[in-house]
Symmetry: C2
Amino acid sequence: MDLAHCSLNSVTVKNASFSRLIELATRHGFGGVGLWRDAYAGNGAAAAARDLRKAGLRVSSVCRGGAFPQPDETSRAAALADNLRAIDEARTLDADCLVLVCGAAAGRDLAAARNQIEDGIAELVPHADEAGVRLAIEPMHPMMVADRSAITSLTEAVDLVERLASPRVGLCVDSYHVFWDVNLAGELARAPEALMSVQLADWVLPIHGQLSSRGMPGEGSIDLPGFVQLTRKAGYRGLVEVEVLSDRWWATDPADTAQAAADALREIPDPS
Amino acid sequence: MDLAHCSLNSVTVKNASFSRLIELATRHGFGGVGLWRDAYAGNGAAAAARDLRKAGLRVSSVCRGGAFPQPDETSRAAALADNLRAIDEARTLDADCLVLVCGAAAGRDLAAARNQIEDGIAELVPHADEAGVRLAIEPMHPMMVADRSAITSLTEAVDLVERLASPRVGLCVDSYHVFWDVNLAGELARAPEALMSVQLADWVLPIHGQLSSRGMPGEGSIDLPGFVQLTRKAGYRGLVEVEVLSDRWWATDPADTAQAAADALREIPDPS
């Protein structure tokens, strides 16, 4: 792919400072960056937005809002306040979307957690409307159901988007989370208007913990050219992010990691 | 649950000898055992069947056939021969079913792997018919898609059972593999005739590798009383197996592990 159509997610080079992230993205000709909120927390979203504008980089996503299931009212109110702040930051950064990592059940009741997630997103829509910020629900791999998200499949996420019925609410689709799904192509085709973010990471074994065992595109078992093609056929026209949470890659110099990411993306054919 | 309605899977106490497995299952009043093939490989299926009959233990499942996707004709023929042997062993043991761990894609083509799985099971049906052995497809957790099974959800497994359209082909449903699924209740209800095996293990974090991070019922985040109830409502009347692949429990004395399994099952209410 032409890197001008791609975005470097900050967590891929999470040990780089914000200015270093900009330098690495610019050096390789990325069209933009995806930002975890800790990446700009030091100087704030407004300063980050100025620096990015100067560098000519778009913000393809801000990560993250979410964490809707909460054990009590106090923590629920804190999560809501944080979600409203995240929406404001995404507006300041003119981000294509705010990614929602919806949160896991506090106990064993998945159905209750799913209801809290639906109610929690609905509660954010008015503020997102005012801010002009799109909310992208990220279905996460079922191995994260007990610690990160009770929304575990693309089917479930598309159903949720349909029930919420707001053009402000859509999907963040990460290859790592959904590639296993026998209905992948059909579900992507069902959601053409809803595709707000596409992220790439590869599936590598063994799993060490649930979060940061991912591979750079090409290192694992996912047909990533096919995945990118499916998202394009489904109508996605935004930047394709490389978001690799990897203890292995985090242990190398961010310059080498960014180089590897750029090389990996260039190996994927531009979707037709 | 009354342990007479439960079964102790050999892999839960995998360091126990076969005679020790029988002794442990009998001591706690289990109605049967589930057998991995290595558990009886030493003296063979016929000797094992005699010992089990003497002890009054049923065989709720034999694990495993499967491994249908293969890179070439030689390995495909070897897998077929092994599957036919597994069916014969299940007949000798008068097992309620042979569990199919269907296998992963040799490369990155999941659709091709799924076709090979469907063809591979269809090829076994005549021999299973002759032997009177039921074949139980086990949908496995999506974190095992690249190394154990391309059949990653209950929906996909039920669809496969419907396409194969033989009363000899059904499902093995393990809580660990399917609990995350938003459609769990609906899919179990869709498959009342097909439920051939129900297995229990709990979801505990962190994951260390994909295979053997499981918890004893009660140790993790799965609503196992609810799961057992759903399988009963869906019409399952067989033994409920405890099958816990756990490096942690394997490191303790099999007697302690069997005791813990018995205690855990007794904590689960008998389904109504």
